[in-house]
């Protein structure tokens, strides 16, 4: 570092600041969320036709006795949403129980089954819809050959991140989220909105209340220092100190053990900021985020494992078709021991799962549960069914909500749910756009004032 920028006194030019990597950290989580939403909007635009209600809508209407408007009225919506939330809560408690009884194989098997089912069944349905709607003349033989193959490969990529390129793993998770979100947009309108609001409230309660299922599961995982298998999207880590992306993927960090047990999600941001601050303060003995060679005896990650069990992101409607509850199991992260770091103590595979929350992984990358992807995309997809104006407004609202959640994460340093802020903003913006903005824009356009 012989060259010192003359304009910057006392600041070594090679040292990265918080902004250098925090921006990229956030970008790396905003990209997949945006991609997921974009794909859902595309699918919705291509495939949905307002004149023919989907059979799902019809079956819900029939099962709930059909109120006014073919089952798309508020009481029905509330009942359906409540049923869904109750089912998800029950399933999360069941997951916590299984985890308590250490039935990890059955959790993993369930995770594998649900991922494969989503990709095969829902993926096949979407593919068939696309083929039919667009009249693509693909033959049955190729389809029968390609679909199970693609579903199997993507399921493998989603569940075993160690065996596939990181990009493929992330793409598989996004694919699962897109398919599930598209399925949810097939619900009737009021039901969808009620469901979104109910899930946001549930997320808030489950993560923050002492008796909430996600919190219970999280604390269980932390006190046992185990990982809960679940599907969580983990952004590729960015290493600010090296100035490039060489990073020890999922290297166990040995943080100062002052993080309390419940800080799963927010740890990340905190550690990222702490890391940056430490790096910036120029001390030679920077926090051992990477090497962790200091705590030789501390084999397990002393950092509390943020492992919120994957709550169900989809429930089975008692009336409608039963969808296999999509539990997000974070696959036990195979420890990626870099051969260069021989002397480092071996970390047990750690996992932070944050089913509906947001957090940081041990390597400092931001993690976001697939449930968040799904419900963000459901909101935007449902907005797409009205008009693209609402899509833009809701997209901005959700990204803003995500940013706010990350900020809160840094402040509070404990597990936080990622749904409530974004969903609240999204719903508010949807309503405002639909009632106020649209009127304004239409008036402006018809009076040739603004297009």
């Amino acid at each position: 570092m012989a060259d010192a920028a003359p304009a910057v006194p006392g600041d070594p030019p090679a040292r990265a600041t918080v902004l250098d990597s925090l921006g990229e950290d956030i970008t790396r989580i905003v990209y997949p969320v945006s991609a997921c939403m974009l794909l859902v909007v595309l699918l919705v635009s291509l495939l949905s036709s307002p004149d023919s209600p989907s059979p799902l809508t019809a079956s819900i209407a029939a099962a709930t006795g059909g109120g006014g408007g073919g089952g798309d009225n508020i009481p029905t919506a509330l009942i359906t949403a409540l049923t869904f939330v109750v089912t998800v809560t029950a399933a999360t408690f069941l997951l916590a129980l299984l985890f308590y009884l250490r039935c990890t194989p059955c959790l993993r098997a369930y995770l594998g089954f649900s991922a494969l089912a989503v990709l095969l069944v829902l993926g096949g349905q979407v593919a068939l819809l696309l083929l039919t709607r667009l009249r693509l003349p693909l033959d049955a033989v190729s389809f029968a050959l390609l679909l199970p193959n693609a579903a199997g490969a993507l399921a493998l990529a989603a569940l075993a991140p160690a065996s596939v390129p990181i990009a493929l793993h992330q793409a598989a998770l996004v694919a699962i989220a897109v398919l599930t979100a598209f399925w949810f947009t097939l619900l009737p309108e009021w039901t969808t909105w009620a469901l979104l609001v109910a899930m946001a409230v549930y997320d808030l309660a489950a993560v923050l209340l002492p008796g909430g299922p996600l919190r219970v599961l999280l604390e269980l995982a932390i006190e046992r220092n185990e990982e809960i298998p679940a599907l969580v999207y983990e952004a590729r880590p960015v290493d600010p100190r090296h100035g490039r992306n060489w990073r020890l993927w999922r290297e166990g960090r040995q943080p100062g053990g002052d993080l309390d047990a419940s800080s799963t999600t927010v740890e990340v941001i905190e550690e990222v900021l702490g890391r940056h601050l430490d790096a910036n303060s120029g001390n030679g003995s920077s926090p051992q985020f990477r090497e962790a060679a200091t705590s030789a005896g501390d084999v397990n990650n002393s950092r509390p494992q943020a492992t919120l069990a994957a709550a169900l992101s989809s429930s089975d409607f008692t009336q409608a078709e039963v969808v296999p509850a999509l539990q997000e199991h974070r696959v036990a992260v195979a420890e990626m021991r870099v051969p260069l770091i021989q002397p480092r103590p071996e970390r047990s595979g750690e996992e932070e799962e944050d089913e509906d929350g947001i957090g940081l992984s041990s390597s400092g990358a931001i993690k976001l549960g697939l449930g968040d992807f799904i419900f963000y995309s459901v909101l935007v997809g449902r907005a797409a069914m009205y008009d693209y104006m609402t899509v833009y407004a809701c997209y901005l609202a959700i990204i803003a909500g995500l940013g706010i959640t990350l900020l809160l994460l840094a402040f509070f340093r404990k597990a936080l749910p990622a749904l409530p802020v974004s969903i609240a903003l999204g719903v508010v913006f949807y309503v405002l756009t639909r009632t106020l903005l649209e009127e304004f824009v239409v008036q402006c356009s018809t009076n040739l004032l603004m297009f």
Binding site: A14, P55, L56, L128, T132, L136, P137, D139, L248
Partner: protein, 155 residues
């Protein structure tokens, strides 16, 4: 292991652990703690991917499982071990030598599969009813889906 990259310290671990004796060997601009990773990485993810000792077993497993009518596993194998595929046989590190046969065979297998599939699909699409006669309508996917009611679930 003998994977070496030119210009990198001999001892692959020396760069990471701060040792005063090796201070002279590292480029000073990088500071005492984070020299460049000296080993050659077999996977496309580099240091984030599989370590070299597990790479061979992994490549073999994917190659063998690909025969179970799962040619996409071959594609994953090729993509994942792209550095192995790209480096010419004469210059690649010794550790790649055991991985290379599996990856190359996976690449060949996937190429054959995709050529066959694309040929068939293109023939089907372009040929249409002229070539296949009325049987074309029985084979095209949207008719099959309608007949079997497969897409009724989502409408």
């Amino acid at each position: 292991m003998e994977a070496r990259v030119a210009g990198v310290p001999e001892d692959e671990e020396s760069g990471l652990l701060p040792r005063p004796s090796t201070a002279g060997r590292r480029p000073s601009s990088r500071g005492p703690r984070f020299p460049p990773p000296p080993a050659a990485w077999a996977t496309v993810d580099g240091p984030l991917g599989l370590p070299l000792e597990e790479a061979e077993g992994h490549a073999r497993r994917f190659f063998l499982w690909g025969f179970a009518c799962l040619p996409f596993l071959w594609a994953i194998n090729c993509c994942y071990f792209w550095p192995v595929l790209r480096s010419p046989a004469a210059f690649s590190p010794a550790a790649f030598g055991s991985i290379r046969p599996y990856v190359v065979r996976s690449a060949i297998g996937f190429t054959i599969f995709s050529v066959v599939l694309i040929t068939w699909a293109t023939t089907f699409i372009v040929g249409g009813e002229r070539l296949f006669g009325p049987g074309w309508n029985d084979l095209v996917m949207y008719n099959v889906a309608d007949k079997l009611g497969l897409s009724g679930f989502m409408g």
